[in-house]
Structure formats: structure tokens, C-alpha cells
Symmetry: C2
């Protein structure tokens, strides 16, 4: 990671509120993006914002997003207009001694840019592999790859990570001095995502073993 | 819930992609919003979308969002412009027999509207109570309430749930007929959020008991 440039803030990617929570280490940005499953893509449609969730995958400094070629948000994002893509991981609820200082611990990556529609067949497959492997590690090699018809129905966008910010909150509440003597519990209730028992597709032949890529998966 | 009007789609709140996943029961919208902790607020700032995470609370058909009075996104959203607020819960990773049909199970609520800045002292407190109780049930009565200075530093927005949509995916993968004979495991890996051990604030007197509102909390 030592050759990766730091996160170089532009006017809009500068963390203004709670600037002490801004991180400038590109490796931390990667780690946050790699740990999330879903991001929220914002586009401007008819003058109004539209925010929709979407899966993604990362290859170096390129994020790949995809969706149906018919999705209005994807079409809007393909038209060379500015987009914003945000990935937020909630790590805990912060209980304070005052209502005001209640908060959350979180990691939040915000990427600004103009998305590029991927049309070259090699990059298309490469991007879909990144997306599939991000959602379901090991699935790209284990399952049938996209055929021509499926590729034609998929809009793949590439978004550069050049203009990105990362904001992180960790640790206990930031109560006011005056409240510290209050006999009220304060601290953090950590949150995490866990996987449950795999639920086989009803159409699967009985006894089909659950592969390690599913069984041993950690989120 | 029988008096609540169904979700009545406008042009932009009509679910177009995967329309079979659209839900029109307002009670389901409420349940999804109530189950989430963080939403993503989209605004248009200098012609570009900005998407930032924020906590929220619901009172009937009103969503309350808040932030610092200094936050650019909150200021933009207060100016009578259109906003979009999206809450997404990821319920599982859908493993298919083809890369193309990999998916996620999720619930996604999207609210369109013009946010209203709350300034009346009664509604301000009422909205902050909804926000605090959503983030940390029981905390409003157990901790110090906001004082005048804190209220002045808080921007509270109200967003009406009139124009909203809910999209839900559940169940196994939707593989193509041709792939069903493939000897590849397919199914759903359920995901859920769990709480860990409460982490007391280091400034808390030793032995301060963890209250039931924290200890017994389920997410």
C-alpha cells in the first residue's frame, strides 16, 4: 500500500463536519469498501436526487457497479453526469449520558465522480468477476459465467476512487464534562453482521453438500 | 394499519425494475424503516448528488432526520429542495447456479420529498425524542435531555412519507431452467445484525450496572 497516494481531498470530498474523524489512508478506504456488501448510488434525475442500493466490486482504484440496462438510475449514471457512491458500515450504538451525545460508531466511504459505462468485453467480464467475487467469494469459478444475452442485459459502470473520503467514528461517547458525574451507564453496544445457516434452494437435489465458500464464509 | 393509505406510487416512486418485488402495504414500509438504524440522504449540491448516512426516527408518517446546523447536506436539504432518503436492510446473499443470477435478499425503502426544517420548540423536542428512541430505545428518559445550546446546534428535518416505495426480495435464486441440472449448490446465506458485549465508557465508575435497555437490546 505504500505506493498508493493518500486520499487527496477536493472541495467536496473534504470532511467538514467532525473533521477529526476524517481518514486519509487509502488502505483504510479500500478496507471499508471491501468490508461492505451494498453501497448507495446517488444520481440526479429530473433535478431531484435518487438514491438506490447496489452491489459493487473493487479492483485497485476502480469500483464496479452494475444493474439492469433498463434501470433509470443506471442509465442516468451512464450519461457522463456526476454520481456519488456511499458505503456505510455501522459498528456500534454509542450510549451517552445525554441524549445529545448519543451517536454511532461507523465507517463511511464517500466516492464522487463521473461513472464510465464499461462496454469492452474484456473489462466487462473482469468487472463482473469483481462484483460476483465481492458478493459471493468463490462463485465466479464455481458457477456458470455470463453468456452473451446476459452480458447484453447488464449495465456495468466503472467509478474511479480518485475523489473519495473516509470518515470513521470509534470509541466511547464524547460526553460533556458536566455530565460525567451523572449515574447513567454510558458506553458502546457493538454491532456486527453474522451469517446464519445456509438455506438450500428447494430445487436442489437432496444431499447436495454446501460448499466451503458458503459454509465457511465470514462477513 | 387498516386506515393507513397504501403506498401510492408517483412517477418517480414507482418501482420499475423488478416490479414484482414492489410492496404496497404501508405497514411493511413502516416495519422496514423501524428495523433500520441508518438511512442514506441524497441531496443535490452544486449540481452533483451528495449521499450521506444519517440516523432517523419515525412518528406516524413523518421521518425525522438530524445533523449539525453546519453540515452542508443538511443545509441543502433544509432549503426546500427535493431530497431522497433510502433505508436498505440486507437479509441474505443469494447464491445461484450462474454468476448472473447471484443476488441479495433485501428490504429497501425509498422516500422522495421536500424536507421541512423543524423550528418549533415542541416539535423539535418531539422529533429528537423519536430519533433518540430509534437509535437507543429507553435513552430519552434515562439521560439528560437537550439544553438550549444543544437544540440551537441541531438541525432537525421532517420528511413526509407520502411519496415512498418499498422493494423486497426474498427466497431462493431465480436460476434459468437450463441451469437447474448443474451440480452446483444454490440457496441463500442469511445475514443478520447482532449485538456484542456492551463496552462501558472508561470514565464510568467501576461497577456501574449495564441497564436492561442496553443489555437486552435486540437489533
Amino acid at each position: 500500500m505504500d505506493t498508493a497516494p493518500p486520499l487527496s481531498p477536493t472541495a467536496r470530498s473534504t470532511v467538514r463536519r467532525g473533521a477529526k474523524r476524517a481518514r486519509t489512508d487509502r488502505a483504510e478506504l479500500y478496507a471499508t469498501l471491501d468490508a461492505g456488501l451494498v453501497g448507495h448510488l446517488g444520481v440526479v434525475l429530473d433535478g431531484a436526487p435518487l438514491v438506490l442500493p447496489t452491489g459493487y466490486g473493487r479492483q485497485g482504484d476502480t469500483l464496479y457497479l452494475h444493474g439492469s440496462t433498463g434501470a433509470a438510475s443506471l442509465r442516468a449514471a451512464s450519461a457522463g453526469v456526476p454520481v456519488c457512491f456511499t458505503v456505510t458500515l455501522v459498528d456500534g450504538v454509542v450510549y451517552a449520558r445525554s441524549a445529545f451525545h448519543h451517536s454511532m460508531n461507523y465507517r463511511c466511504a464517500v466516492v464522487h465522480g463521473v461513472a464510465r459505462r464499461v462496454t469492452g468485453p474484456d473489462e466487462l467480464l473482469h468487472g463482473l468477476e469483481a462484483l460476483t467475487e465481492h458478493l459471493a467469494p468463490g462463485s465466479w469459478d464455481a458457477t456458470r459465467r455470463p453468456d452473451r444475452r446476459e452480458l447484453a442485459a447488464t449495465a456495468l459502470l466503472a467509478l474511479d476512487l480518485t475523489e473519495a473520503s473516509l470518515k470513521v467514528r470509534t470509541g466511547p461517547p464524547g460526553d460533556d464534562e458536566q455530565d460525567l458525574a451523572t449515574p447513567v451507564w454510558a458506553g458502546v453496544l457493538p454491532l456486527r453482521t453474522v451469517v446464519g445457516e445456509p438455506e438450500p434452494c428447494p430445487l436442489l437435489p437432496a444431499g447436495t453438500p454446501v460448499p466451503a465458500r458458503v459454509l465457511d464464509r465470514e462477513i
